[in-house]
Amino acid sequence: MFLKKIAPALALSVAAVFAATAAHAEKLSVAATPVPHAELLEFVKPTLAKQGVELDIKVFTDYVQPNQQVADGQIDVNFFQHLPYLDSFNKEHKTKLVAVGQVHVEPFGAYSSKIKDIKDLKDGAQVALPNDPSNGARALLLLQKQGLIKLKDPGNILATSRDIVENPKKLKFRELEAATLPRVLPDVDVALINTNYALEAGLNPVKDALFIEGSDSPYANIVVTTEAKRKDPGIKKLVQALNSAEVKQFINDKYKGAIVPAF
């Protein structure tokens, strides 16, 4: 009996405390993959609570459900993908999800054990690329950005070395298994390596890369919602919080170059 009497009173007082700290508490549900997305969200959660946005982080380990749930209105926002993936998802699933902000890149870099500066790259140099479609194209797009090659369709995220139309340095391309690339570094002039494989091989993306994808990478990880919710104030606050100086510091301290801020 005691409980029955006290419970409503307790609920009331909790509500009163909430009302005092956050005058207009908004609930925002976010779908995210565990690392680093959910970790970044946990980091901004207290800040957002102070601004009256209560973040409900739902961790997913697959790449379809987070988009599907947002499209169905079950979840407000998601944070796990890059734009090329969102584009192909929208096309395949006939959804109209939109990006409202970008946070970080898991960058792709060029490494060499022969040259210290990309300007020293000789004509006819050997360049090693990953041999799978998405990473291979990503490597070619990065080379294109550096002005080393030109692709038939400059935005093709599935380009292969056969799509190269201009190659002024007459670079020779070798396509290898992505994980093998760090091991063959001594045999080629340049190798384009995913950051996770570079880190595993003891390379430091910050210090060792000749050039690396920056904040303007099309592969920056984005915050996504539906067209209808794109102007939602809570979502705006979330994006602002994720693009804060504190998050930049947090990313640089915690991930040490494995991921870089894209804002």
């Binding site: 479609p133 290898l176 298994e177 091991r183 063959v184 001594p186 045999d187």
Partner: protein, 219 residues
């Protein structure tokens, strides 16, 4: 168009890569595997140079190399490949691991062929005063020629298959093409064409081998 993804010059290049890889690897495989097989045979029990420690050690090395998955051998050998071939990449880089994998296999085949021979031949040689070197060169090898040729063909076909995995180190070749375009990019036509070329290659090898064996047998 059914064959819209096919880039014929690329296929031609890959075919040449496969032939180069198989050809050179086969040459070195025979060069290393044949003596190794003969030594394995001679040092085994009740043979001319019966020597248990030598046999055990060689046999162990052969077994180890044969049990390491080729894909792993390809990667583990990278530093050694660099020393032997000058690079760990491409066709050149694929040859040392191919040889390391095929030579022990071929040596075992040779050992078995020699074991199947009638022991009377070498006994007769010994009785006439031939030393073991003479016995091997003048009696064993000539007697075993057809069996060894058949073993070379079996090894060559195994090498065609193994060379498909060289794509991991940028070795190129038809298998690499089938994997990269046929499998990863869903270009089924590329897969079909490369596989058909591989089948034709293996068929030709087998027919040629069978003919050679038949001719040798008639002599």
């Amino acid at each position: 168009m059914i064959f819209g993804n096919i880039d014929w010059p690329l296929i031609g290049e890959a075919t040449i890569d496969t032939l180069l890889m198989t050809g050179f690897s086969l040459f070195f495989t025979v060069l290393i595997g044949l003596p190794l097989g003969v030594i394995l045979f001679l040092t085994s029990r009740h043979q001319m140079l019966d020597n248990a420690p030598v046999y055990q050690v060689l046999s162990f090395i052969v077994n180890v190399l044969r049990s390491v998955p080729f894909l792993i051998l390809l990667i583990v050998m990278i530093p050694m490949t660099r020393v032997l071939a000058g690079t760990s990449l491409g066709v050149q880089g694929a040859i040392p691991p191919l040889v390391a994998s095929a030579a022990p296999f071929f040596a075992r085949l040779v050992e078995n062929v020699l074991r199947e021979l009638d022991p009377g031949v070498s006994e007769a040689c010994r009785a006439m005063g031939a030393n073991s070197r003479q016995t091997v060169l003048m009696a064993l090898i000539p007697e075993a020629t057809t069996g060894i040729v058949a073993a070379v063909i079996v090894t060559a076909i195994a090498l065609v298959g193994y060379s498909a995995m060289s794509g991991v180190i940028g070795g190129g070749g038809l298998g690499d093409l089938a994997l990269r375009f046929g499998y990863q990019r869903y270009q089924t036509d590329v897969m079909i064409v490369t596989v058909v070329i591989l089948v034709v290659m293996v068929q030709l090898l087998q027919v040629f081998g069978d003919r050679l064996v038949a001719r040798l047998n008639r002599k």
